[in-house]
Symmetry: C2
Subunit: 210 residues, 2 copies
Amino acid sequence: MTAAIALADAEGLPAVSMRAVASALDTTAGSLYRYLSSRDDLLDLMTDHAVGELKPYPRPAGDWLDQLQALATQQLELHRRHRWLGEVIQRPTAAGPQTLSWFDHCLGILREVPAPTTAKFEAIALMTGTVVLFSRAQPTGQPFAALDPARHPHLTAALANPGPPPKDDLFARALRALLTGLLLGERGQEAVAEGVHAPDRAVGHRGQAG
Amino acid sequence: MTAAIALADAEGLPAVSMRAVASALDTTAGSLYRYLSSRDDLLDLMTDHAVGELKPYPRPAGDWLDQLQALATQQLELHRRHRWLGEVIQRPTAAGPQTLSWFDHCLGILREVPAPTTAKFEAIALMTGTVVLFSRAQPTGQPFAALDPARHPHLTAALANPGPPPKDDLFARALRALLTGLLLGERGQEAVAEGVHAPDRAVGHRGQAG
DNA sequence: CCTAAACTGCGAACGTCGTTTGCAGTTTAC
DNA sequence: GTAAACTGCAAACGACGTTCGCAGTTTAGG
């Protein structure tokens, strides 16, 4: 269980074979089926255990956008710590209790945001998707073998003049752009530009937490 | 090759085994290694072949944002047609010629956008990532088994009151929010809100194409 | 305290996977 | 006409997820 997580952290998800985790537990592959129904079961348990690391949730500070950003930042750290998470959560399996709790916490933050429920669901899904995207991108080696400048003029030009390194707040900017665009619609753009962070109604995090 | 794509379209990526495509070609698994060096090779070929379906690229219309949106919409249709694409392109392999050509085309559209090269790379990657995210989300069954209203108050409330269905322009809105946020920075938000689509310099697609 | 039932862990095996290998049959070159 | 090179393929290898049946141990009942 935690042995499987350690294995995945160290050697990647493909290294998490029934035989490997059994060996780490000084037993054999078949024996694991006394406790697990399948390998997918193991992956589900690993996922929910990892999501549990997000607790305690950050104390509410700022408006809902700030709070979601804090949550996403924490989530990004989690995905960098467990690089196999992005791959695992893309399977269509039932969500575990920790995942359910986290999702409920997100909805709590969005409670007063005037957007339909479906939009909030999509926004949270896309937030996690963005986290996964950013957790992957770090070492850009040279994925381009032989470039023909005639065939790919813009690409060669871009590579010849790489320009300044990317700003490190790229994640926060992308996230805020996505969330405001999704949840506030076109009017959200103006609101952000004007420095207005919340709609008319008060958007606080009243009392409860997960 | 095309047989493998047909197989993946029909029965999913796991069904694309060496033996299965060999059987479709009336031969055996080992024989394929006369033409392919590995299964990853086959997947790479399938990917590049599928990306080739994006040609001819849509004729340039509107500013760079409109053009990228058209490209992304076309890409989304491709990913819905070949649902295995999203999974395949996440492997860290070298890009094929069609993929290179497409990437170069994107950079051509962004040619006059005043953003560093690295930012453009990230934006294109995130655009594709958004396409993958949206290509997945279609049937939301009931992923929630037994909900404890006390433990997940917001979630149960949200499910009890689903609200109106999501607007179908959600993809376009998310994409535009992401791209403007990434490539224009904070100032981009104002520009979009004011209906201004391009910076001072003319942003046309002059002549060439991929 | 002894026996019967239930449960535990585990070695061995099954089928499938990607990949390698050696062998026939055929084509090419001298 | 012979030697070299190339082709397709059946068989096999190791690793995978998973199943099965058998020992050893724990529990329940008389």
